[in-house]
C-alpha cells in the first residue's frame, strides 16, 4: 500500500488506522464520556481541535525543537490547546462542560494525540501533518459517536435527548454506567474485527461441476 498520497494521509486515520477501533488509543475518554451522543460529539470536537492545533505547531516548529526535549515541548503545546478548549467549552456550552468534567483536562494525556506528534507530525511537512490530524480526529469522532449512540439509545432510550421508544421503554441503566462503556467497546471491536477479517479472506466463487477457483484476493483493509 503506497503511503504517500494526500488522500491516503487523510483517510488512513478515519477508518483503516482508526485510533480507537484499530490502534486502541484514547480509550479513556472513549469509555468515560460516551454515555450520551451530545457528550461524545463535544469530546470528539475538543480532541479534534487539540490534535489539529498541536499537529500544526509541532510540524511548523519541528526544526526548532531539540530532540532531547521534544516530548516536553509536545506536551506543553498539547496542554496549551487543551486549556484553551477547556475555557472555551466552559464559556460557550457550560452544561456540556459540566457533563465532561475532568475528562477535558485529561485530553492532555490522550496518547493518541502525543502519538501522532511523535510518529507523524514531527517528521512531516505541515500540510501532511494537518491532513493526518484531520483524518485521525475524524476517526476519533466517528468511534465516539458509534459508542455514544449505542449507549444513549439503550441506556436512556433516546438519541441526542429525543425519546425514541415512548414511555413504556425501560432504560438499560448499565449501558450509561462504566460497565456499559466496556460492553459497548467490546461489542464494537468484535464487530469491527469480524468485518475486517471477512473482507480480508479470499473470495471463492463456486463454479458449476464443483470447480473451485480463487478469483480475487482482496487485501486486508
Amino acid at each position: 500500500m503506497r503511503a504517500t498520497t494526500p488522500r491516503y494521509d487523510l483517510l488512513r486515520g478515519v477508518w483503516e488506522e482508526n485510533p480507537v477501533l484499530v490502534q486502541l488509543l484514547g480509550l479513556c475518554p472513549a469509555l468515560a464520556v460516551t454515555n450520551t451522543v451530545a457528550n461524545s460529539i463535544a469530546m470528539g470536537l475538543a480532541t479534534f481541535f487539540v490534535l489539529f492545533g498541536s499537529s500544526l505547531l509541532v510540524s511548523t516548529f519541528k526544526r526548532f525543537i531539540p530532540h532531547e526535549v521534544r516530548i516536553s515541548a509536545y506536551i506543553l503545546i498539547i496542554a496549551t490547546f487543551v486549556t484553551i478548549a477547556d475555557l472555551v467549552l466552559a464559556a460557550v456550552v457550560p452544561t456540556i462542560h459540566k457533563a465532561l468534567g475532568a475528562f477535558i483536562a485529561l485530553i492532555v494525556v490522550n496518547c493518541m494525540i502525543l502519538g501522532r506528534q511523535e510518529a507523524f507530525a514531527s517528521k512531516r511537512p505541515v500540510g501532511r501533518a494537518l491532513l493526518d490530524a484531520a483524518g485521525t480526529g475524524v476517526g476519533f469522532i466517528i468511534a465516539l459517536l458509534m459508542m455514544g449512540a449505542f449507549r444513549e439509545i439503550l441506556g436512556y432510550g433516546s438519541f441526542l435527548g429525543f425519546p425514541l421508544f415512548g414511555g413504556s421503554y425501560e432504560p438499560w441503566i448499565i449501558m450509561i454506567l462504566p460497565p456499559g462503556g466496556f460492553f459497548t467497546l467490546g461489542f464494537i471491536l468484535l464487530g469491527f474485527g469480524w468485518w475486517r477479517g471477512r473482507k480480508s479472506q479470499p473470495r471463492v466463487r463456486q463454479w458449476p461441476h464443483g470447480v473451485g477457483a480463487v478469483t480475487s484476493t482482496r487485501r486486508a483493509a
Binding site: 530532540h67 526535549v69 516536553s72 486549556t83 484553551i84 475555557l87 464559556a91 517528521k123 512531516r124 454506567l177
Partner: protein
C-alpha cells in the same frame, strides 16, 4: 513507513539523536522557557475572554435556582454574614467572595417570603451542592434544587432529575426526616427517599438540616425586621 519520501530525503525532519553533537543545556532551557512563556501569554488572553462569560453563566444558574426554590419572588437580595449577624451592607474593604451568605426573597408587596440557602456535603460519589428555600416563620421548606452532583446516573442523580422527589420537599416542616417508601406515617417532617439511592437522598436531607441548624436563629431575627 520506510518508503515515505518525506522522511528519507527531507532535511526538515527532526534530527536523529544518534551521531549528532550534543545540544547545549542552555538551548534546551531557552526553547522550553520561550515556549512556556508564549503558551502562558496566549492563555491569559483566552482566560480574559472566557472568565466573564463563565461568571455570568454561574450567576444566571444561581438566579434561576433562587427563583425556583422561593417559588418566583418579585425580587431578592443577598445577605452576608458579617461579625455574627446578617447584613445587606458590605463593610468597606471586605471581599464579598469570602463571606457566607443567604438570599432573602420578597413578594410583590415587599414582604419577605423566605430565604434561599446553599449547602454542600459529600454524597455517594462526590460533593452534592444544592440550594433550598426556607420560611423561618412557618418552619417549612419552600423548595429544593440540586445545583451539582456526580451521583450514579439513573439512580443517585434522581435527586436532581426526578421531579417527584424534588417536589416532596415543598411544605415539609424542619427538621426533615428521611423515610423509606412504605414506612410513611404521615408525619409532617417526613420526606420519602428514593429507592436505590438512599445515601444520596439522605445527604440531601442532611445538608438542609445542617444548614438550618447553622443559620437557625440568625434567620428568625432578620425575617422579623421590616424589609428596608
Amino acid at each position: 513507513m520506510s518508503e515515505d519520501p518525506d522522511i528519507r530525503n527531507s532535511a526538515k525532519a527532526a534530527p536523529d539523536v544518534l551521531g549528532q553533537p550534543e545540544v547545549p543545556s542552555s538551548r534546551l532551557i531557552a526553547t522550553l522557557g520561550m515556549a512556556g512563556a508564549l503558551a502562558g501569554l496566549l492563555l491569559v488572553f483566552v482566560f480574559q475572554w472566557a472568565q466573564p462569560r463563565i461568571l455570568a453563566y454561574q450567576a444566571e444558574v444561581l438566579r434561576q435556582a433562587i427563583q425556583e426554590v422561593l417559588a418566583g419572588p418579585a425580587r431578592y437580595e443577598t445577605l452576608f454574614l458579617v461579625n455574627g449577624s446578617l447584613t445587606n451592607q458590605l463593610p468597606p474593604g471586605v471581599d464579598s467572595l469570602d463571606l457566607e451568605r443567604v438570599y432573602l426573597g420578597y413578594d410583590d408587596s415587599g414582604e419577605p417570603v423566605g430565604f434561599a440557602i446553599a449547602g454542600a456535603e459529600p454524597g455517594f460519589q462526590d460533593i452534592i451542592r444544592l440550594l433550598f428555600g426556607y420560611d423561618p416563620d412557618t418552619g417549612r421548606i419552600l423548595g429544593m434544587k440540586v445545583l451539582e452532583n456526580k451521583e450514579t446516573p439513573g439512580l443517585g442523580d434522581k435527586i436532581e432529575k426526578d421531579s417527584v422527589f424534588v417536589g416532596r420537599f415543598e411544605g415539609v416542616l424542619v427538621p426533615l426526616l428521611g423515610v423509606k417508601s412504605g414506612r410513611v406515617t404521615g408525619n409532617e417532617h417526613e420526606v420519602v427517599m428514593i429507592t436505590g439511592a438512599t445515601i444520596s437522598s439522605r445527604t440531601v436531607i442532611e445538608i438542609i438540616n445542617n444548614q438550618i441548624e447553622h443559620w437557625g436563629s440568625l434567620l428568625n431575627g432578620f425575617a422579623g425586621e421590616p424589609a428596608q
